[in-house]
Symmetry: D2
Subunit: 316 residues, 4 copies
């Protein structure tokens, strides 16, 4: 193994860190490429399906990181990645010069900028490759992946990313660009939720069937599964179990607002979402699907079907 | 011809009023059904293509209205319909008892409620049937039509509506319901524009390609021609010539806000749109496509490419 | 009595219409000037205190209107004034050419513009003179009055207005200007309420005493009785009985929004107020003081002390 | 000098750090109490007026900090205080156990919470005592001071605070409470600016004199110097030189939004201010008075008197 993997055109081995609802099926698809894959997860028992599919259990993470040219992380947030990167025996300390870190989680661009610099100082290379899609698409290998990083490094990992996603977009050399795209994607979904929430409250109020409204508008205008799915969920008030919890929706809009503030872009619609999720959380919808924004707006329009339990200060 | 057309299952003749960009191709498709169609338009010269296609020119509108069981109007706004209905020799005065008025324009629900009562008092029947789609879809006969009115009357006109649209939705017995759906549809498009406007401003600011962002999000999430079309238009700043002028966007959001206020539903997103269009109009974008909301947000984010001419008070 | 009262420097007699909570004390102060005052009110029994103070009961309103050069109206809204002006035997029909109508209610500028034209056509003169102040200041004769109308007519009525208010501002020749000022004044109070509502919710949340916050900020910054009064009312949640009902607050912000829309001025803060009052009304605060906007914001911040009864659709 | 100054009822000596526009006059007033005051400032030349008034120049800051029971800081922001507290030879390292740090700057509550814990660990005591008032009031000794900290420590420093301010409010034992009050005070001023900005734009549009509007509303409703001063500044568009720069207004609203988000309180009015200041900064008003928010709203209402230079991306 040379000191510089940048020119490798293919990777025969890698370390995978993170076996959550997304990471597990993604790693499984990666394995099917024939790559030799060492896997690590905080809870060991989550690894069983991967080991059965041929992955190697990592018993000495620092050692494995030292011995491999490539490490993937699919972790929940900045804090989890920061810990894995910076801890003693972690990625920064152990990955070789020229080694590649492909981070696939939804992280803040500000953190990814910092991470980029930290890896660069150690002669390592960061590729940021967050994904769009829920666990079902992760299992099917049909995620959309947005990758950014030095061009030849992205070239090198591309065949691996293509095992996990049906489409891989390359958005530039600066890794944080991929995270901007991911954050913007989630923000647009929030915009759709707000639009639906207000429209369906209005519809209920004037006697238009919410379900039919969604069907008509999807037929007449959108022809979009996302529009139809969220529209139906909100029309039918199917907010539990959550596909994506309101608390996570709040986390996402905070990411968007923090970034927007950093670059001094006003986002009035994100402000509306932020206020709406907070109100929803105070009404007890924290663990409901973020589409329960529809319930918040319905209540403010006087068309909700129950009274609101308001959490008082002392309960918090 | 009896005094009551409600039980007629088919109409062999009708009067069509309005030959604008939408009305003309709609009437042409209607003609193809074999119906005997008298046509009227304020500017006679607009009628030529219809006359060539077999329509009959109306020289005595009051007489024609008296002699037919069915009249269609495809007119620009409440005022135009109100004039045609209420004037001396107009629809209200001349249409026979049991006669049917099918109004296909985008009118305010409040006005349609009034119109419903006026017709009812005269023993006439109103069907409201606004349409979704631009002139190209009107020509192709693939509009989506939303119809509301007394059930058997809608039954009777349905075969005619189906000549003009590929899909006809029935939303209830109260004609105004169809207009609520139409207004809500336009409002959701406004929501999409706001979402895109903020996202693309953010993207420009951080160096993400606006055009690529639209492609990625459409691929990853929306798979919607409307999302893609408006997204590209805004990413490329192709605001002229306007498909739908900002001034009309303002008219639509005013309709939504007026109705929402009447039924006491808060619409904070519509408030944002209202403020955004007004700002755009004061910056000189009145006749640009309403997607120029993207320009307004870009300017407020410091990423527009030119200075803003601000109209002063005295110019108004 | 000549045909033209414009050059009269003083009025010795007048008709007063409207004896509500404001109109009654205002008329009483006017009487003290020694003017001969005929008084009219829909409910006769409200007139007793005025008759005891020397007013003349009007038994034939059309006759009295014909015989006097000056009529004051202090009525609730556009509709009430419109009726009194336009009805058979009303002001427009009976007031002599050159007669003066001083309208002191809070009317919409659009209506006042119409009214100005109607009077002008009949050779009559309108002065609009809405007031700031509650009934206590009306009784004390310390209202602030904002007058607009033709200069010499305002000159002529000024001594009478000064019996009712301690300060009279003249804002121009166009009567509607006075109503714009009145609407703007009420809008600024709404802005103060929103500011307090958000600040006090924040304070409650972090453990700052709401009452002390108001005291500190009034001492440090505002030194304003209005700030202190509304601040204390909101800090102490003293929303009943209402000094000014939330339903009326909604009416006022609607006036501001309607005017702003007419002249194409965005008012995002008024939009917030509008949404806030609507939410409050749906939560049952319609008849509470409009400062109960503080309750609405507190609920959305999770610091309200009770659950929210939400009115359902069927109750409306 | 004992190891614990908590029970001292008076302090005869102190160190003062920070001689900016506020710190200098405040220290001067403190000196007049007869206290022995060592003074320190990054730029030595700012200290001259204090030395002339009897202050002692500090040549060895760590030594002085070790020798005194009391240190005041009047520094610009979290970063400046953090540096002075945490650096080698700084307050944390050198102040004796039981020593008191009185921080008088406008800091974030989150930072003050951290600072409180840091001092507590070292057996030191933090009093937070931010001030309301501009340099003129600092010179006159008529600031309003909001103090929070352990009760007996506040007792002990109270006579000193009263040399600098005409009113000292005590808001509790937790130092961060004082900073919450300060932040809320500045937020309410922002609310006043937004209210004025929208009102004056509306007034300009309909032909009401902005200057007269301010005079009328102050007379009729507010009777508040703050209302009148900001109102006049905005009515007359006197935005330069800035009393308080828009860039600082943005900093303040960011503090409020960050705190509000931390405790999950929606602040829609603060969102409006944030968007408004950002738009203003992109239009080139960064160094104008924050009352230039009035210019931003006027431009969006089409009543500004010049065209807008919009800074493009490349200029940033």
């Amino acid at each position: 193994m040379t000191d510089d993997h940048k020119n490798d055109k293919t990777f025969g081995e890698a370390v995978w860190i993170g076996a959550g609802n997304m990471g597990l099926p993604m790693a499984k698809n990666l394995l099917a490429s024939g790559i030799r894959l060492g896997v690590h997860n905080r809870s060991k028992n989550r690894l069983t399906p991967l080991l059965e599919a041929g992955a190697l259990e990592i018993t000495d993470l620092p050692g494995s990181l030292s011995a491999t040219p490539l490490v993937f992380t699919m972790l929940a947030d900045d804090a989890a990645v920061g810990e894995m990167v910076s801890k003693s025996g972690g990625i920064l300390e152990r990955l070789s010069r020229g080694g590649v870190h492909v981070s696939m989680g939804t992280l803040s661009p500000a953190f990814v900028e910092k991470l980029t610099g930290m890896h660069r100082e150690r002669g390592q290379v960061l590729v940021s490759a967050p994904v769009f899609g829920r666990p079902d698409r992760a299992r099917a290998g049909t995620l959309t992946i947005v990758a950014a990083g030095p061009s030849e490094t992205v070239d090198a990992v591309l065949p691996l990313l293509e095992r996990m996603g049906s489409t891989v977009f390359r958005v530039g050399e600066d890794p944080a660009l991929a995270n901007h795209v991911k954050i913007l994607g989630n923000f647009t979904l929030g915009g759709l939720l707000e639009t639906l929430a207000e429209s369906l409250s209005f519809a209920r109020r004037v006697g238009v069937s919410p379900d039919q409204l969604v069907e008509i508008l999807d037929t007449a205008l959108y022809r979009s599964p996302v529009f139809r799915n969220y529209g139906q969920m909100m029309a039918r008030e199917e907010f539990q179990p959550a596909g994506f919890r309101m608390r996570l929706g709040l986390k996402d809009v905070r990411l968007a607002l923090a970034e927007a503030d950093r670059v001094e872009v006003p986002l009035p619609l994100a402000d509306l979402l932020h206020a709406g999720y907070l109100a929803g959380i105070h009404r007890g919808y924290e663990d409901w699907d973020w589409a329960a924004l529809g319930r918040v707006r319905a209540e403010d329009a006087g068309v909700a079907e129950r009274s609101l339990p308001v959490r008082t200060r002392t309960e918090d």
